[in-house]
Amino acid sequence: MTILLFGVTKDIIGTPQLSIPTSTFTGKESPKTVGDLRSFLQNAYPELKKLSSLAIAVNNNYAEDTKPINSFDEIALIPPVSGG
């Protein structure tokens, strides 16, 4: 699963793109919904918990936490930015 990172999430995670290995390799359950993925990433990168709003897009569309995801989806983490 490919995750594109924008704004401050790129700074927090330290890379513009992240790949999550599928369960075949890790033996662990991979995230099944957007909400699972959100918690998974917040555990791995606790700084993400500080963001009061963080939009997650699946295949270029804004997704609610209940949306199912699979390893072929392209995910984007989109925090608000304020600069001008």
């Binding site: 924008f6 704004g7 513009p16 600069g83």
Partner: protein, 357 residues
């Protein structure tokens, strides 16, 4: 008007004389005359938008010049609004420029935006962005949104024909300290001009009906890879039902803020030696600072509480008065008994009064 002034765009078959006439009749409000607002105002003025409202109350600083390309070295220390109006008048004497020498606020937002057809958000902080969003929902005005982070930009049009709003994309207003601003994080000079120019283009499309308005789609621009991506998002109808503004938009608006105006603070400074905590970055502090002020950057404030005497009044200072509010909120939670003051408008306003006197 010289017959051929706009001929290069009226020649475009989709645009034509009709498009030009629509621009001439349009009333557009640009909130903020910084990195984003300058390309927006300059291009709209050049292309012949009839009425341009301009809201700004900041002062030109030397470190603005790398991205705010309307201003010159000789303008440093002057009001942005005054200088911008002068240059825009010289650029196009036919447009009507309506200046508002103020920051947009809960008390003036609805009154100001009601006078215009559409609003451009060229501000630099979440509090003002959420205020503008809510005000545009109430006054039923489309809002052309542009924002920056590092080498990236975000662009979309909110509240267009009952389309989605800022709260449909990012429901909760972030606290300013969650996400670093351009002051702390830095911004490459060209970036705001790219995003601001795209905002100006959206204004032209909204006004003339040419092309497709970027509503319900967030454009993400990454300058480092020259890549763009469009993310679709839907309206959440409850966000269109806002009836009135929040009491305050400063970091959630739960604290009542103890603040002091720059003139009063300067008077105090002449009589006493107040404890001044400057929460800007170390490099900003090195550039210039008030005598006897103590520098504790906002990000490090919770680790440096021992440098502050909480038995004496604490005056919090930054460049424009926004980071000092974040510091104020942090300190007031830790020391509810302390006497805290936010210096309104920060060093920018203080410098203006020092220049004036």
């Amino acid at each position: 008007m010289a017959e051929n002034r706009y001929i290069r765009q009226t020649t475009l078959p989709q645009f034509g004389k009709e498009g030009q006439q629509k621009l001439k009749s349009a009333k557009v409000l640009v909130v903020g005359l910084g990195g984003l607002g300058i390309p927006v105002a300059t291009y709209l003025n050049a292309m012949g938008v009839g009425t341009l409202g301009l809201v700004e109350n900041d002062v030109i600083a030397l470190h603005n010049l790398q991205r705010q390309v309307l201003y010159a070295e000789t303008d440093v220390g002057k009001q942005k609004l005054t200088v911008a109006i002068e240059k825009l008048k010289a650029q196009n004497s036919e447009s009507k420029l309506v200046p508002f020498a103020t920051f947009i606020s809960v008390t003036n937002a609805i009154e100001i935006i009601s006078q215009f057809d559409l609003i451009v958000d060229a501000t630099d902080n979440f509090a003002t962005r959420y205020l503008l969003n809510d005000a545009c929902v109430i006054a039923k005005k489309p809002l052309v949104y542009g924002a920056l982070h590092g080498f990236e930009g975000q662009l979309t049009v909110f509240n267009y024909k009952n389309g989605p709003t800022l709260r449909c994309l990012f429901p909760s207003q972030p606290k300013q300290e969650e996400i670093p601003s351009c002051n702390e994080n830095g911004v490459l000079g060209i970036l705001p001009s790219i995003v601001g120019s795209l905002q100006a283009l959206e204004v032209v499309k909204l006004v003339t009906g040419v092309g497709e308005v970027l509503s319900g789609k967030l454009l993400l621009y990454d300058g480092l890879s020259q890549s763009t991506q469009k993310i679709g998002f839907q309206v959440k109808p409850e966000n269109l039902e806002i009836q009135k503004l929040l009491i305050s938009y400063q970091d959630g608006g739960c604290n009542t803020l103890n603040s002091i105006a720059s003139e009063e603070f300067l008077a105090l400074l002449r009589e006493k030696q107040p404890q001044i905590i400057d929460v800007r970055t170390t490099s900003e502090f090195k550039e210039d600072h008030l005598d006897r002020s103590i520098n504790i950057p906002l990000a490090e404030i919770s680790n440096n509480l021992n440098k502050i005497d909480f038995l004496a009044p604490v005056y919090l200072l930054c460049q424009s008065g926004k980071r000092s509010i974040s510091a104020y909120n942090q300190l007031s939670e830790l020391y509810p008994e302390a006497e805290l003051w936010n210096i309104n408008g920060g060093l920018n306003q203080l410098n203006l009064h020092i220049f004036a006197s």
